[in-house]
Structures are given as structure tokens and as C-alpha cells.
Amino acid sequence: MLTTEQKPLEQLLEYLDREKSVFLIGCRGCAEGCHTGGEQEVLDMKQRLEEAGKTITGTSLIDFMCNESLVRMTLQAHEDAILSAESLLALCCGIGVQATSSVVDKIVHPGCNTVSMGGRHGEWREGERCMECGDCVLEFTGGICPIARCSKMLLNGPCGGSSDGKCEVSPDVPCAWQLIIERLTKLGRLDKLERIVAPKDWSVSLMSGAASKR
């Protein structure tokens, strides 16, 4: 099972600072098992956000948010509610956030941190998408993960080696930051990159050594 923990409410409210309306999505797969994004947690989140003055334009629960085509199909039924929301909040693993980002042209806020993939990669098998860093950064990267997809794991990219949309490492590797910039440009949210992202907390990542935390 992919293990997630909900991000603190204060952090989510920071993400939603500029927005009044949001569409909420939960996952009936692993996130339900972790009690971070199942039906109950989506209802709880709805209530907490409404108490904080946000309008929830709708909610949806998807069986496996790591299944991109299932996400696309399910969200089609909620088109009006999604279009009337300024953004989406996804209570699921990093794969689910990225699957949602790939089918909706709006900012998708990650509601959880992915702390372990449990050796699996969900149902979206094509390519590496989550490195279980435990401190999800998809919020400011347009739903494209620079930890999994940038060769230098840059948080303030792209480096000087980005050329024609490709990474300096190989012409077969797309530059993750090119993709991030293209997506945020399309969403009109390049402002997310006009600030400096602080050094990352690697202590919550499996990359710091599996035995150190879990």
C-alpha cells in the first residue's frame, strides 16, 4: 500500500490563500486505507475548509487515483463543479495528484505527503513519478514532480543545462522544469516560481536512509 499522511491544515490554507472555491477529491484506494483521503476524510476536510471560509464546489471519490483514465472518466461527471472551482485539492498520494493534474487544466493542490510507496507505483505505470520524499512539492510545480523527474532534483530550476526541452543528461530525458514552466504558463500561475523555495526537509524521506525514520 502507498502510505500517505495529511498535510497540516495551516499548510493547505496557505496553498489556498488566493482562492475562495475549491473542488475536493479523495481516493478509495490506499488513501482510504491510510485514513488520509477516504470518504470520511473528504467530508471532514470539506467541513474544515468551509469553517475557514472556503466554498467547496463539489467532491468526488475515485477508486484508484493512480489510474489516470479512471480519474479522467470520473472527473468528467463533475465537469461543471470543477470548472466553477478555482482549484482542486487532492487527498491522495503524489501519483494521484499528478494523474489529476494531467487531466485537469487547473492547479491541483496536494493534500497529503507521500511517505512510502510500499514498493509499488500505483496503477500509472509509465515512468517514475513519486520518490516518496515525504514533503510533497507538487503545490508549486504545477503537479509535475521535480524530485522524481529532474536529474538534479532542483527545487529552483531549471539549471543551465536545459536545452530544447531536454535534460543535459540525455536527449531522451525531458527537462522536468521545462514541463513545469510550460504547465504553469498555461495555467497563468508562473508567479508560483517567482519566489525562492527553501532547502528541503530530507529527514522525512526514505532517501535519507530507510532505517532513520520507519
Partner: protein
Amino acid sequence: MKSNSKLEKILEGGHFAITGELGPPASANPEVIRKKAKYLRGNVDAVNVTDGQTAVARMASWAACLLGKEEGLEPTVQMTCRDRNRIALQMDVLGIAALGINNLLCLTGDHQVFGNHPTAKGVYDLDSIQLIKMVKDMRDEKKFQCGDDMDVEPRLFIGAAANPFADPFEFRVVRLANKVAAGADFIQTQIIYNVEKFAQWMEAVRDRGLDKKVKILAGVAPIKSVGAARYMQTKVPGMDVPEAVIERLKGVPKEDVPKEGVRQCVDIMNQLREIKGVAGIHLMAIEWEEVVPEIVEQAGLLPRPQVYQA
């Protein structure tokens, strides 16, 4: 003044600066540094000493800087995020400042797959922008990255790189703005052969007022052979070598190509000097240091200004 840097004093004094570059050997031989230093001393205001450039294991930048300092150079330590985490980087920052080195260029670093240890684990705990900010906070706030206090701060003149030719082009100025906001005092750019594109970038830089906030040194390098030019054009990521540059070198007999490369470099320097907001030149005569005196002379940049250093 933020530091005891000669480069800072020259730039703040309104002089047109010129910096050079020195690559340490892939050995423990100090004579290599001493020999290269001869060509640079008195001809440039400061010398960047590379930090495992192209991810090849070489003598440490700080150590080569110290040898260069003994030879009368004003060294600039280059520091990349590829090989060291934030703990090691801060230890080195304190060490180089204590050794009397005044300049630090903060880089992300070439990826390890390009070097002679492609199976090495890349570190990249920080990126270049986070490194700049960390060093600035150490200098100006006397704080470590974790927030702990220190009593004697590293008084370093902080540099950063910019590549106007990498993609996406429109975002490059945003990235420069982030580097300036992080605390960069000076910028050294990627080698410029496409002056027109660089001028476009500088226009965007001026539009944001960044040339008033940071000293921009335009990068240049003489080309020794047509093959080297072609290699840079096709094989080096983030390099822009227009066909006309190669054509000019092809237009002279083979034995005259190095001379023509020098002339071409001087011509580019003269063009760059005319662009508003360019505060100096960063001359990278990599493994061709002996040509530096000639280039600086031909560009009319001698003698170099003298400044008082405590």
C-alpha cells in the same frame, strides 16, 4: 563593502572588471597552478578556480585557490551542489573565508554522468539558489542554514552563474531575479558567441532593473580550433555557437585559427562592452591560459585598476 574582495572594490568603484578562470589539475601537482597563475596575475582582477568541472575529480577548488593566492592572484572559489550536502558546503564556506579567500561563485554543478565517475551518487541537497541564500544568511545574518548563530561570519563576495542561452529563454530572467533576491552580488554568464541573443536577454534584464542590483560579467572564451567550435555547437548543452562564428575561423589557414580565435574573442568583448548594464567580462581561456595577457591587452583593458585591500 560586504567583503575584502578586490573584485567587489573594482566593480563598486565603477571600473569595467575582468575576471579569468583556472582549472586545477587532476593530480596533486601544485606546479600546474603556479604556471597558470603567471599568465593571469596582473591581467585579470580575480580568477575563478573550478570545482570539479565537467564532474571530473580534480584538486579541490579551495586548495588550488590558496596556491593561486600565494602566487598573487585574487581567487574565486567555485562551489557546486553536486558533491556536498548543506553541512559540508557550510564547513567549506567557513574554511575558505578563514583562509582569506574573498569571492565565492555558487553553482548547481555539471551532472555526474558527464565526468569520469558516472556511477557516483549525486548529492544536490541544495540547488544553486538555495546555496546563494545560505551563504548570504551566513554573511549578513551570522546564521547557519539551520538557524544557529555564529560569532565570526564569512565575509564573501557572492557570485552566481546565468545562462542566457539555456531554455526556456523567457524564464531565464526570472531565474536571474531569483538569484539576485537570494543574495547574488555578481553574475558571470555562460560563454557568449551569440551577441545578439545576449543583448536581447540584457534588455529583459534591464526591464526588470536587475542590472542595477547585481554586477553582470559577460562570459567569453577564445576558440582554438574549428573542431572545438563544432563540439561546443553540437555537444555542450546550453551553448549557442552561431554558424558565422565557425565560418570566420574556417576562413583562415589552419595554422592561423588560434590567432583568429583570439581576434574573434576580442571583437566579442568589444561588442559586449557596448551593451548597457554589462559591468565586466569573465574570460574563460580554459587550458589556454597563456593567451590571456594578449587578449586583455588587445581589448584595451590594461593596466588593471589598483585598489586597497586590507
